[in-house]
Structures are given as structure tokens and as C-alpha cells.
Symmetry: C2
Subunit: 742 residues, 2 copies
């Protein structure tokens, strides 16, 4: 061996060792950033080496001929995403093997030359196709609009993030719903009504001079799942949001959202003409009021040309509305719709109305009020209807308004923030709940008249469609307060784009993008997520029970509460527990809410064949009633509670075993949260059984233990400052002191 050779071998060994050391070094020396969830499902961490080798040749450069803010956003996302995943820079380049060519026929001669079948994609759809271009194997992302290209870019990244093959792609996709909106229930003072992920991310005070970079991250996440509108403020609205001072801030946010195809909406207070405009009335028939809305809206559009419109909560829980002036909900909606129509804006008019002055079953009131108004709303109005007739319970039958307003644009409102689901600390995967409602058959036009077909407009031939989610986003570092709550944000967007996706598909995608694509992980965690929804129904409100929640904050059980000013805010109003039995008689012998459903459903719910899961929602049932299982109602109830707790125990064990797949920070947080969930599931079960037993006087079934305390113990549990409750102040608690420490 020559000297040179020896040196070569030596340096070879040195450099090889150094090379390997460097490869290993990030783990050793650079303080590895804990995975705090900030990057959501757009993590773009380097793939495993084998996958890098497989995908690198298929993503060598970005070819984009056009220039626009949305195309730039698409390019930037591809550069960021591919660079991260493939662990090497991917930049702009020419047509070559592995190039990704993005554009529209208008912006890109290359794309125009391909004569792709884009017509069915509409304004927002995209096509991704592997083709040969000038002899090079390339991937085309094409659309009719730059926004469509952006959606296609996110879709290609998702395919790579979830390790789908991309060598022979022929994918086209267009959104099923036209309006895919989030409603932030954020107050201008920074609190969030029903927010469990910290406070509002909107730092209004510093806007427009300082725009937090987080707004852009949130916007990217929204756009990546197809959300195309957000309402910035609480539906219990502050009129100040419509002042010129705030519109200037809103315009600055709209500028952040615009390249990502997201329009800004605002919750408008119906009485704003009085509060801001100094008028004597907000009567929609008053010409001054009409003029005020027109002037206000014109002013907004001068600053925000793509302003989306308004969400309005009127005559609901203390909010003003047209009924204050003896006008109908339609007249109220239309005065605002008329102001918006010339600009292409939309009113989302909430159907969540009920009155403490109306002794009618609360579940019936929205239907009663809106049914006669069918056909009276302007074309640019949606009646925004919660998924169920009460209020985002763990399970509700679908709202009877679905299918009942054929001449009205119907939007479904669901809740991402877990107001009635144990807050962010409880793992409850919500797409399961939403899918159940979407699949609900209203029978309005015979079998197959699903809620999905109502809201996508196909059942009645509407050319517009919408679904709205109440956001779970706050200023917590991980955005939504817990590792798994991000899945609800992700899932909401994906589902509104494609109502046919299953909760399993969505969960698997999200897990792969957020944690790992290791099949062993998904095989354990997907079933856990799917089961989580039935678990919460079982440990909180089994068999059709609903609204058993403690007052105001809705944290923990309060089935005994009967002293609130409004009868329909009391849990006893809903559970009707008495010596005879349990449940709300909504059959014709009771409130007759069943008759608001199509006849086949009405008779099912009023009769003996009613499914167990809806039983106590519609019927008052004797404690000793024999259930389908052969058990008495009492025993069945307890079995369900204990099944729910057991399921959470199973979730804990599943997650504990996931340690090898998950970073410490997220894993540990979820471990702590599942422990809280199990403790609180037990609390729910014990408190409810202790209360119901005062009526049933029946013994615990064999193998099921009695609550460890008596009812007074559970009644005395008092939670000050539970998050998310509206108007919580220190003063509220001073009348309810607790003993000092002993």
C-alpha cells in the first residue's frame, strides 16, 4: 500500500466516521426541539431514508410559469414541504424528470398546451396527473384557478406525507360543498366562548401594525384542508367589530388570508344600527336601518373586496333580533342579505333560537319558527342549523329542520371545540359524530334523503351548499389544546371537501402526517380514535340522555340542577327522572317533537322499535323497562356508563404502548389528559347514578360497584373558573365559598 493509499484509507475512515457521526449528531448535540404540535399536520419532517430515496426522483423541481399570491403560496408550500420531507432542497426549475409543473391554462402555457379535462373541477378543484412532457416524466398540478393549484399542491404533499405512490397519479378532486367555514367564537377582549385552547390568537390590539406570523400558519393549515372562510368573532357579537377602527384590523387579516383562498366573515350584532349607527331602532323594515346596513356593508367592501359576509345569532340567548320588532327571522336575515348581495356576500343566519317565554319543548322551537319561513329567505342566505335540536350534545338525533326547508339554503353547524365533550382534555374524535349526522336519513324525500344530501344541495337541487364548524383554535402552542383535538380541525376540513371520506380514512391520514406512518401505530390508534366517540356518549349521556351538564361552564355532571332562571337550561328539564322512570317524552303523548320528523321516523321514534341510542331523547321509560338486551333500563344504563369508563381505560392502555412511536412531549401530555379523562368519566358515572338512584331505588347490577360517595358529595363539587364559560368573573364565586384548607 502506498503512503498515499494509506493516507487515503485513513482519511476515508476519518471522514466516514465523521460523516456517520454528523448524521447521528442532531440527536446527540443539537437540543432537539420537542414536538410541541405547533406545526400541526404540516410538519414536513424528513421521511425515513428509504422513502426519501423513493420520492426524490419524483420531485426534483417546481415549474410555475404564472405569478400570483396564490401561486406563490403554492410554490412556497411545495418548496417547504418537499424540502423538509425529502431532506434536500427542492427549488424552482425547468421541465426535467421529476419536475412538478403547476398552473392554470390561463397562467401557464405549458398547462394550457396539455388540454387537460378541467371543466368538471369548478373554481376550486384540481387535477394531479403524472405525464410525459417533452420526454420528461413530470407531475402536473392543474386547476381552473390559482386557488385550485394551491389545493392541488397541498394534496400532492399529503400523498407524500402519507407515503402514497405518486409515480402514476391521475387524481382529480373538487369540493363537495361550496362554503367550508370555521366560526371562531372569539371575543374582542381575547377570551373565547367555549374555548379550551387558551385565549384568542387574534391580537386585535396590535393590529394592523403588527400581524403575528401565527395568522399565516393558521391560514396555511385551514387552506391545506380546504377551509375557505372564517368568521373571526363570537356569534354573541360585539358591535365594535363593525366600527371603522376594527374593520381596518379585519382588512389586514383578510390580506393574510386572501392568497390562501379564505374569505373573512364577521359575526354581526343585529342591533348594530342602534349601537354603532345611533339609530333609534334596528327594525329591518325601517328604511334608515336598511340604509345603515347598506352603507356599513359598502364601507366594508371598499376595504375588503372579497369580504365573505355575516354570521348572525338573533333572538337567541339574549341576543337582539327581528322578533324584538315583530319581524320574522327571514325579514331580519334579508335586510342584511340585501346589503351584501351586490357584493357577492352571504348571510349565515343561525337557526339556534329558543325562548324562555315559549313553554314548547326547546327541541321543537327552531323548527316551529323556521318551517313557516321556507322560501322566504333571500338566495344569499343560509339557515345555519346545528347538527341537533338541542346543543352539540355527545349524541343527538339530527335536527328536524334538515329536510324540512326544501326551498331554503341549509348550512349545518357542528362544534369542533368540545363544550359538551369534556373540553380539550378528553379525547373524543369528532368526525365520527359528524359522519353519523351526515349519514342520517331524514326520509324527507323517501329513503336515502340523507343530511349530507340536504346540505350539499343535491336533495332539492340547490346550487349552493355549506357546512360550518365552531373552531377549536386558540393561542395554545399546539393550537387546539391537546394533541388529538388537531384531528378535529383536520377532519372538519377534509370532510367538508369530501363528504364521502370515512372517519377512519381521515384519522389514518392525520396520524401519518402528525406522528408517523408506521402501520403498527395507526393500527392501534385509529380504532382508539373511532371508539372514543361512543365512549363519551356512554360515560356522559348514554341511551339518549342529554344536557346533563353543570351550569354555565358545562364541565362535569349536574343532572340534579333544577333552579336556573330558564327551565330549558336545567338538566332536570331534559332527563325528567322521576319515580316512574327516565327520559323526555317527545312522542305524541308528550311534547310530540317526533312529529317534526318525516313520518317513518316519527313513528319509529314514538314506538317500541326506537333504537336504544335515541331512547331517552324521545321517550320516558320505566326504570324496570326490559331493553333489547334483556336487561332493565336501570341495569342497561349502568352497563353503558361502565362500558364508557372501560373504553377510556382501554384508550389509556393503547396510548401508553405508543411511547416508541411518539415524541415525549406530545405523548406525555396525552398520557396526562387520558388520566384526567378516566377520572372524569368515573365522576360522570358516579354522579349520574347517585342522582338517578334516588328515583329508581334499584340496586346496582351484579359486578357493578355503587358510587363511592352519596349524592350530596357530587352536588358539592364546585369548579370555579372552568375555561370557556361566558362572562366568568371572580365576583360570581364569592357567594359560593368553599371551606379553607384543613
Amino acid at each position: 500500500m502506498t503512503r498515499r493509499g494509506r493516507l487515503g484509507a485513513y482519511t476515508f475512515r476519518f471522514f466516514a466516521a465523521a460523516f456517520l457521526l454528523l448524521l447521528a449528531m442532531p440527536a446527540l448535540t443539537m437540543p432537539v426541539r420537542a414536538e410541541d404540535g405547533y406545526d400541526l399536520w404540516l410538519r414536513y419532517r424528513p421521511m425515513e431514508t428509504s422513502a426519501q430515496a423513493q420520492y426524490r426522483p419524483l420531485a426534483t423541481a417546481i415549474v410555475s410559469e404564472g405569478i400570483s399570491p396564490s401561486l406563490d403560496a403554492a410554490k412556497t408550500e411545495l418548496v417547504r414541504g418537499l424540502g423538509g420531507l425529502l431532506n434536500r432542497p427542492v427549488g424552482a426549475g425547468a421541465v426535467q424528470d421529476g419536475a412538478i409543473v403547476i398552473g392554470t391554462p390561463t397562467s401557464s402555457p405549458l398547462v394550457a398546451g396539455l388540454k387537460l379535462p378541467l371543466s368538471a373541477l369548478g373554481k376550486e378543484g384540481y387535477l394531479i396527473r403524472s405525464i410525459s412532457l417533452s420526454g420528461h416524466a413530470v407531475t402536473i398540478i392543474a386547476a381552473n384557478s390559482d386557488i385550485g393549484v394551491l389545493y392541488g399542491s397541498f394534496a400532492l404533499l399529503r400523498l407524500i406525507q402519507t407515503r402514497q405512490p405518486i409515480a402514476r397519479l391521475d387524481v382529480s378532486s373538487a369540493p363537495r360543498l361550496k362554503y367550508r367555514l370555521l366560526n371562531h367564537w372569539d371575543n374582542l377582549d381575547g377570551t373565547i366562548e367555549r374555548g379550551y385552547a387558551g385565549h384568542s390568537i387574534f391580537d386585535w390590539h396590535k393590529m394592523p401594525d403588527y400581524m403575528d406570523p401565527r395568522y399565516t400558519v393558521m391560514t396555511r393549515a385551514d387552506a391545506s384542508v380546504g377551509i375557505n372562510g372564517i368568521a373571526l368573532n363570537n356569534v354573541s357579537a360585539d358591535p365594535w367589530i363593525l366600527s371603522s377602527m376594527y374593520i381596518e384590523k379585519v382588512a389586514a387579516l383578510a390580506a393574510v388570508l386572501r392568497p390562501y383562498g379564505i374569505r373573512v366573515y364577521l359575526a354581526a350584532k343585529f342591533s348594530a344600527p342602534v349601537e354603532l349607527g345611533k339609530l333609534k331602532t334596528a327594525d329591518p323594515a325601517d328604511p334608515q336601518v336598511q340604509a345603515w346596513w347598506k352603507k356599513e356593508v359598502d364601507g366594508i367592501y371598499r376595504r375588503i373586496p372579497d369580504f365573505g359576509g355575516f354570521v348572525v345569532k338573533a333572538n337567541s340567548e339574549g341576543q337582539p333580533g327581528p322578533r324584538d320588532y315583530n319581524r320574522s327571522q327571514a325579514e331580519g336575515a334579508n335586510v342584511i342579505a340585501d346589503a351584501l348581495a351586490p357584493h357577492g356576500g352571504t348571510v349565515f343566519w343561525r337557526a339556534f333560537v329558543y325562548s324562555e317565554k315559549d313553554p314548547t319543548d326547546r327541541a321543537k322551537q327552531a323548527y316551529n319558527e323556521f318551517k313557516p319561513l321556507d322560501g322566504k329567505f333571500r338566495d344569499n342566505v343560509f339557515v345555519q342549523t346545528k347538527n341537533g335540536a338541542i346543543d352539540f350534545q355527545p349524541r343527538e338525533p339530527a335536527h328536524p329542520l334538515f329536510g324540512a326547508l326544501p326551498k331554503t339554503n341549509m348550512a349545518m353547524e357542528v362544534q369542533l371545540t368540545k363544550e359538551y365533550l369534556g373540553f380539550a382534555t378528553h379525547l373524543v374524535y369528532l368526525p365520527v359524530l359528524w359522519k353519523e349526522v351526515l349519514d342520517w336519513d331524514t326520509m324527507a324525500k323517501g329513503k336515502g334523503s340523507t343530511v349530507a344530501k340536504v346540505i350539499d344541495g343535491s336533495l332539492e337541487g340547490h346550487d349552493t351548499s355549506a357546512m360550518v364548524g365552531v373552531s377549536n383554535i386558540g393561542d395554545d402552542r399546539n393550537w387546539t389544546g391537546a394533541p388529538f383535538t388537531q384531528a378535529d380541525w383536520y377532519g372538519f376540513g377534509r370532510l367538508t371537501w369530501d363528504l364521502n371520506l370515512t372517519p377512519e380514512q381521515i384519522a389514518r391520514e392525520w396520524l401519518g402526517m402528525s406522528f408517523t406512518n408506521d402501520p403498527a401505530f395507526a393500527n392501534a390508534v385509529v380504532p382508539m380514535m373511532i371508539a372514543s366517540r361512543e365512549a363519551v356518549v356512554d360515560y356522559m349521556t348514554p341511551l339518549g340522555l342529554h344536557h346533563m351538564f353543570a351550569t354555565n361552564h358545562h364541565y362535569g355532571p349536574g343532572p340534579w340542577i333544577n333552579d336556573l332562571s330558564r327551565p330549558d337550561w336545567n338538566p332536570t328539564y331534559y332527563n325528567r327522572a322521576d319515580a316512574k322512570g327516565l327520559g323526555f317524552d317527545r312522542t305524541p303523548s308528550g311534547s310530540d317533537a317526533t312529529s317534526q320528523y318525516a313520518p317513518p321516523l316519527a313513528s319509529l321514534f314514538a314506538g317500541p322499535d326506537i333504537p336504544d341510542r335515541d331512547l331517552l331523547w324521545f321517550q320516558h321509560v320505566a326504570w324496570g323497562h326490559k331493553m333489547k338486551s334483556g336487561r332493565t333500563l336501570w341495569d342497561e344504563l349502568i352497563v353503558h356508563y361502565d362500558t364508557g369508563i372501560a373504553e377510556v381505560g382501554e384508550m389509556r392502555r393503547t396510548w401508553a404502548a405508543m411511547n416508541p412511536y411518539v415524541d415525549d412531549e406530545r405523548w406525555s401530555q396525552q398520557v396526562a389528559f387520558l388520566a384526567i379523562q378516566e377520572k372524569e368519566a368515573q365522576w360522570w358515572r358516579d354522579a349520574c347514578i347517585a342522582y338517578f338512584q334516588t328515583f329508581s331505588h334499584m340496586p346496582m347490577p351484579a359486578g357493578h360497584s355503587a358510587p363511592p360517595h352519596d349524592l350530596s358529595f357530587y352536588k358539592a363539587i364546585y369548579i370555579p373558573y372552568a375555561p370557556g364559560a361566558p362572562g366568568v368573573t371572580s365576583a360570581a364565586f364569592h357567594n359560593k365559598p368553599k371551606d379553607p384548607i384543613e
Copy 2:
């Protein structure tokens, strides 16, 4: 060349190239985390390569013989810090060249054998020394307690972080003050009174089941600068914090803080015996009340053996106190002190008292109330006195109580959160302000009786000492709301450890640890930080003006405000602008507040030689009064306002040029904030001049432009939901509508 040689050379080249590529890669492919400020001054980013080479031989391993939570914290910090800075793992090891040996004589035979001079270091001090041990050059970090070792470890890291030589160290350091405390003004509902960095980081609702990892990061930062106690809740206290439910949560936090030598304190509401204990009175002379405090405190210590004690805001701004029962402040403090004494706990009894029923000049009231009580407070009571007699103004003369209570333990309270200093968006480096007060000569025992000597106990021979800062920490990602506000947290701790440090030294350390040690950076930015304090005085309240702030939120100017329920909440109460002149006559011909100072100061402040900077604080001066500069008061005032604005302009230019030294995220945020600061400096100047001109009727001096709007414009500016104001609710604004958008 042999084949092998050739191959060797080839592979050599390949690996060398790959090696270099890998070195360069983090910048290219791994999405570099923006510097969001989360790591504070404990960033531990890899040093420049030359520095790594220099320091690596001096830090090769950690030798720690003892085991305790505090020693573990020290070890962990050294492993984290050295590993990051030196960019290679540094772990536990044996005595060898470059070893860092840590311990106390008790825990470490090695340290005990060295017979180091530790006796003067007290319980918290440390010694760092380069020595030869068994023939090896090592660095010793020794102390009398494990906490001292932790402080020494942070000190060694600081030396490396600021690129000080560490080969021949002989450093010993002990804290000048015994109690170095932060008061968090965090409410249990998550809001922070006067907080401008988001909401509270204390997520009480999830405690104790989930302890956010941020608590540990905050604790490390506190300990790194020597802070040894934190009060967790607002001094306008909620009695609930003393309930058993909350004490369980507090105990969990105390467990996080304990290894870092930080004791937990709570703000106690004086009326807690009534609210929590269901007693009829909180009269400190009532035996039941005395028994209640004893029982409460005993209960707390059972759960938190190292509990620090209480901060009490009594008979101040609506808070209950001993005066409600015709008892003195001393009797109030002592009842709580007696309960704490057996456990070693302390009461920090705030001197911030003033009454709307007392027509006396507010600046005099605390002195009048506390002066007669000197010697009446228990040994474990501090009278916690704000730096000035009013309330954390941009500049105040030192509080007359300093030097006036020789038989009383005096703690000085300063404010880190910038309630009266433009909030977090204004860059105002506070150690300059604190140092000015510490250096203030009270003349109480002749020349040299500085405030520093009062609070370190040396002036009157007290064996205890304390300084308290109102925290600026919130749940913003960067902790304090802005890049530069972190310097105030850092500086507060450093200064309480060593009152002799200069603001320049502290700034230079902090900049090196937080940004870069490039001298060009510090040479530009240190002077900018130092100048920032005088700038805010000039553009807000020059020449001794004070409390010109808009109502409640204290955001922006309101010198005209005269309609508040308490006369001493009105800016007009303080500026006394009238046809004759401007300023508060506190000379013997006026309120005679000057007489509360030692005679030499009293006559200085009442006479013609008063320094310009305190002029309008103590004297009412004619508009045409000839100042030392030769200008009239009116002209001088305007010159000061414009000097302040010009200084902010200079700060903007300085910072703009720092782009090469700073990451984009922090640089851009500070650029935006300085633009806000300049805009608001102009607003302050214009609004105040417009108001004062209605009295002076004097023209603008040559070269100084008139305010662009008339006074009514500035009066009409209305800021809803400014952060940090207590009790802000939507309802407050509904009576003050603003026009809708035009």
C-alpha cells in the same frame, strides 16, 4: 497509485464532500426553526467554530458526586448548555482534564477535600475556580448548598455564553439581597392585570393533573438570574387561591419550583377569613380570625413545607384591610405574620395605600400612614414599597418612605410589566430606571444613604433584605410580549443578585446570550437600550410630569381627564395645568410633600435649584419661567417631547441596521413594534401639547410643528379592549359607541 489508493482518494473526496454538504445542510433542508424567543437567554445555540475549539477542552465532563433534585437540575443544565454551546455531547464523567466538578462539602468528598473558602458565600453563594486536581486541570463549582451549586452552574454557562475566558477562573459571588421575588399579577380566570404578553401561563384548571412543561422553562429562567421566590396571583387577590382545591394546585407548582430554589408565595385577600372561613369579621384583633389564619397557614405548610408566605394589598384601591376595623396596617400585617412565623414564612405588606376620602396629596399618604408604624411590624414582615410615591411612572422621585422607616424591613417593588410605559410594544429598558432609584440618595443618614443601602439592610443594620418585581411574563410564545422585554426579566434578577451591576453590563450580557456576541451588535444596541428610558420620559411625561394616562387601561395620553370618581385618578389632579403654569406644587406653599424627604432634599425640591427632571413633580411653574437652558418652560417642554420622538426615530434606524445580526422573526417583530412606538410617541406629544396649549396660549417654538389636529381629535380617540386593564367587559364600551365605517 494502487487501486486501493485510488479508491481511497475517491471515497475520501466523496466523503469529504458529503461531510461539507452535511455541515451546510441544516440551513438548506431542515426548515430552520424561527427564533421565537421561547428559549429566552438560555438558548445554548452552537458557538462559532473558533469558540467551540477554544472552550471544548475546558468542558469535557461533569463530575457530581451528590444526588439531589437541585444538583440534578445543575447537572442537567450543564449537560444541556454545554452540549448546545460546544456542539458536542458533554456528559457525566470522571476527573480528567477539562472536567467540571460540582458540589458542596457535604455532598462531595472531592469538594470537601479542597477546603475552599466558602464561609462568606452564605446559603446561596457560589465559588467557581480553575484548579489542578489529581494532576488534571478542572473547574470547580462549589457552594454551601445545592442551590448555590445550581447558581454557580448558571454562572459558568453565562461566562461561556458571553465568551468570557474560563481557563483561570476565581469567581465567588453571593446575592446582595435575601429575597429576590417576582409578583405575578395573574388572575385565576387567566387574565393578567397589567399583562401585555398574553394571558396567564398558569393553567389552573388542568393542575395538578397536568403540569405544563412551560412551568419548568420559566423556573429555569428565574433561577438562572437568581430569582428565589414568586407570588403566583394578583395582589388584588381572589380568596379562592387559599381554598383546599387551589392549594393542591399550588403545591404541584411548588414541587416544580423547589429544585430550583424558588419558593412559592401567594397574594392573600385580607378578608379571606370572612369569604373562605365564614367568619363574621376579618378584624385582626379577633381571636377567631387569628385562629383562622393559623389553621389556614398550618394547612398550607403541611402541603408546601417551603411555602414562602403572603403578599398583601390591603386598604388599597378597594381591597379590604385592617383599616376597615380601625386597626393599623401593622396590626393587619402582624396577624398574618404570626401565623407564618413558626414555619419561617414572610409577609410582604404593600405600602401602596391611598384613600379617596383623604384629601391629602396622594403622594404623601403612604408615608403618613406608615411613618408612625415604624418598629411596630413583626420581624418577618416587609413593608413592600413601590419605587415612587405614585405608581410606576416613567420617572418618579424615590418614595419618601425609603430611609424613613429605620426600624422596619423595607422591600422595594418595581414593575417589569410596562403599565405606564407603552405596554410591550414600546422598547424601554427598565434596569436604567431601577438603577436610578437604587442610586437615589435619601440623605436619611447623611450623604450616601442610597435606596440600595436601605433595601439591602446595610443602612440600618437589618439582617434581611428584599426586592420585588411585578412580572411581565405571560403565555406569549416569547414569554414577555416582545424581544426586548425579556431584558427586563433578566435584568431584574441580575440586579437583585448584584445591585452594583450597571445597566450597560446587564444589557451586554443579555444581548450576547439572546442574540449574538458580535461586538458591532452590542456596540449599537446597548446605547439604544440605555437611551430608551429617557426617550419614554421625554415623549410621555417630561420634566417631572406624571400620570397623564388615559383612564383604566393607561394606554395613551389623557392629560385632560378630570371626571373620574376619585380626584387622584384624574390626570388633571397631577398636572395642574392652568393659565399660570404647569405642575403640582408640593412645596411647603402647596401640599408640602417635599417635607417628607430628608432636609437637604426637601429644600432642594422646594427651591430654585431643583433638577429639571423633577421640576413639575414638586413645583407649579409659570409657562414663561426661564429654565436652566434659557428656554421658557413651554419651549423646554416641547423640546423634550420632540427629543423623545427623535430618540425613538434613532432607535428605529439603529435596529433596522441590525438585520444582519438577528433572525428574521425577532428582527421583524421589533421593527413593527418600533414603528408603533414612534407613532404613539407622536400621539403622546401631540395630544399633550394640544391640551397644554389651551392654557399656555403660547406659540410653538421655531422648528417645532404644531399638533396636526385640535384637542377634540385627541380627546375622541378611544381604545376599547386595551390589554391588561382590570375588569374590561364588552358592556363597558356600549355606552361609548363609535361611528360605523364610512
